[in-house]
């Protein structure tokens, strides 16, 4: 098997006394779409944020594309990485947030162009071309010069996806990308994500959209209380859950 894109071994994370992650083990292969489901407070968003080091893990090992996240191992000692190195690794991972977090003082295109130009130092012309193409791809070619507050939630989220893709990431993280959207706007965002999956993007998706997980996901993980309760093929897990907790959760959301 090739190097997994994401490899978690016994990942622990606490906020003060509260233990949010209590030993997470999983592997995501390149081009795989992993969906993480579970009740709120189960630690699924925290785990996602650990993958690009927005949160520091306390114990265990977490690596992306064969390299530790936030640390460097030399012999049996672990060294913290400097800010610059952490940033360089984050630049290779795209992230989409529940609340979009577009930069409100920039237009759609400026939102998309900011990081490729300033972080990667790519030439403006090239980045602008790519930015316009990405906006067209998410169905917003006519919203190039529009500020985020003039867009609907679904449109904002699609710009946010385009912004992450502009960095040409090798991995995309989605943190409940449709949870803040009105029901009729969810479909457009899911369509964009489905397209990404078909193009072979490696994706980790925290979601409550069981239909999406069943249809697009290659694998599914059910988390509760900071541990993985059950995992497997989404169609099997959703149709035929083995654990009581999975069954009771699914009976509430399906």
């Amino acid at each position: 098997m090739a190097t997994p894109m994401v490899l978690a071994e016994g990942v622990h994370k606490s906020f003060g006394r509260l233990e949010v992650l209590r030993g997470i083990n999983l592997a995501v292969a390149p081009r795989e779409v992993l969906c993480i489901v579970g009740p709120s407070g189960s630690g699924k968003s925290t785990f996602l944020r650990c993958i690009n080091h927005l949160e520091k893990i306390d114990a265990g090992r977490l690596s992306v594309d064969g390299e530790l996240v936030g640390y460097r191992q030399h012999g049996d000692k672990i060294y913290e990485l400097p800010d610059r190195e952490v940033c360089r690794k984050r630049a290779e991972i795209g992230m989409v947030f529940q609340r979009f977090n577009l930069f409100p003082h920039m237009t759609s295109l400026q939102n998309i162009m900011e990081a490729p130009m300033r972080v990667k130092g790519e030439p403006q012309k090239e980045v602008e071309q790519r930015g316009r193409a990405l906006l067209a791809r998410v169905g917003l070619a006519d919203k190039v010069d529009v500020y985020p507050n003039q867009l609907s939630g679904g449109q904002q989220q699609r710009v946010a996806i385009a912004r992450a893709l502009a960095m040409q990431p090798k991995l995309m993280l989605f943190d409940e990308p449709t949870s803040a959207l009105d029901p009729e706007l969810v479909g457009d965002v899911l369509d964009v994500m489905r397209g990404l999956a078909q193009d072979g993007m490696t994706m980790v998706v925290v979601t409550h959209e069981m239909g999406f997980a069943r249809e697009v996901g290659d694998s599914l993980v059910f988390m509760d209380g900071g541990v993985i309760v059950e995992s497997g093929n989404p169609r099997d897990v959703l149709a035929n859950p083995q654990h009581e907790r999975t069954r009771s959760f699914l009976s509430k959301v399906l």
């Binding site: 940033c87 990081a115 972080v119 009105d182």
Partner: protein, 328 residues
């Protein structure tokens, strides 16, 4: 069975042509206020001991005009120092580096905790405790020595006193602006691979400007007036000049009026400038820019009873909704 109301949606009902509510008390209050203001103005203008010709004579006196320029210069330089150093101190204050944040804390503690008049006196009298100042590079022979009175001119003493004091206040203004920006903005920027400093410069500070600007305008106007304290360092600013003149001709109140007219004129100008600056930084934050003073005046005169103008964008129910769900 009566016809449901909804079905009439096809033929749009005619617009409401209501007779506007009258506000007689507004008119009565306006007349009263005008009468009182006229009475006060008359009493003041006709005061027997006040010679308005002296006011007119000195209003455009060359020395006074020069004083106005010096006041503007002092304000501009001191505010520039205040804003630049203040922004730096604010970022330092929020730094994860404990040394850096403690230094900032002490600076603010000291300069905010002592009166600016005392600080001005201190810089002016620095020569009393340090007669010589030298600047040099350690372990080399490159050194520059001068007497303190040569280096710290009255103008520099005023600049240092006002500017360093202002930085302490501005840093708190900037810090308030920085922490007003939603945490998600920083996270989104970090997730794109931006370093801490770049996140601050490109994402957080531009958004913080909207919160920073109004109090900064306030500080600038305040500084314009506080700069009159620099008269104790014998800088030829407006208040010092008018005091010098009245010391010679004993027209004390007349020259205070001259100074007040100029201060009012300058602060009015600043208020105007601040308004347009705020409009600029409101882009992307409000769907419709507020009207300019001119637009507002025209509306007051010609469209008194019209409903307020409607914004160019229809309100969007989706994205804005969770920002607006305050408890009523």
């Amino acid at each position: 069975m009566s016809e449901p109301i909804v079905s009439s949606a096809r033929s749009r009902p005619e617009a409401i042509q209501a007779i506007p509510l009258r506000h007689p008390w507004r008119w009565i209050a306006a007349v009263l206020v005008l009468a009182l203001a006229a009475a006060a103005l008359y009493t003041f203008a006709a005061a027997p001991g006040l010679d308005w010709r002296v006011v007119g004579q000195y209003l455009f006196f060359p020395q006074v005009l020069h004083g106005v320029l010096v006041t503007l210069e002092l304000t501009a330089i001191a505010m520039a120092i205040g804003v630049a150093l203040g922004a730096l101190l604010a970022v330092m204050r929020l730094s994860p580096n404990p040394v850096v944040s403690t230094v900032s804390w002490f600076y603010i503690w000291f300069f905010r905790g002592t009166p600016v008049l005392v600080q001005l006196f201190f810089w002016y009298n620095l020569a009393l405790i340090l007669p010589h100042l030298s600047i040099g590079i350690p372990f080399t022979h490159i050194e520059w020595i001068g007497t303190t009175n040569q280096i710290i001119s009255p103008f520099l003493a005023a600049i240092l006193g006002l500017g360093l004091n202002e930085a302490a206040y501005m840093s708190e203004v900037v810090r308030a602006g920085i922490i007003s920006v939603e945490q998600g903005q920083t996270e989104a920027a970090q997730a794109l691979g931006m370093t801490r400093m770049r996140v601050m410069r490109r994402i957080v500070l531009p958004q913080a400007m909207r919160v920073i600007l109004p109090p900064t305008g306030n500080e600038t106007i305040s500084m314009l007036k506080t700069s009159s304290l620099a008269y104790i360092t014998t800088v030829n600013e407006l208040f010092y000049v008018t005091t010098q003149i009245s010391n010679a001709n004993f027209s004390i109140v007349e020259l205070l009026i001259v100074a007040s007219i100029w201060y009012l004129a300058m602060t009015s100008l600043l208020t105007f400038g601040q308004y347009y600056l705020e409009r600029y930084f409101a882009r992307g934050a409000s769907r419709q820019l507020p009207p300019t003073p001119l637009q507002r005046f025209r509306r007051l005169l010609f469209h008194f009873h019209d409903p307020p103008p409607v914004g160019p964008f229809e309100p969007l129910a989706t994205s804005a909704s969770h920002h607006d769900d305050r408890v009523m």
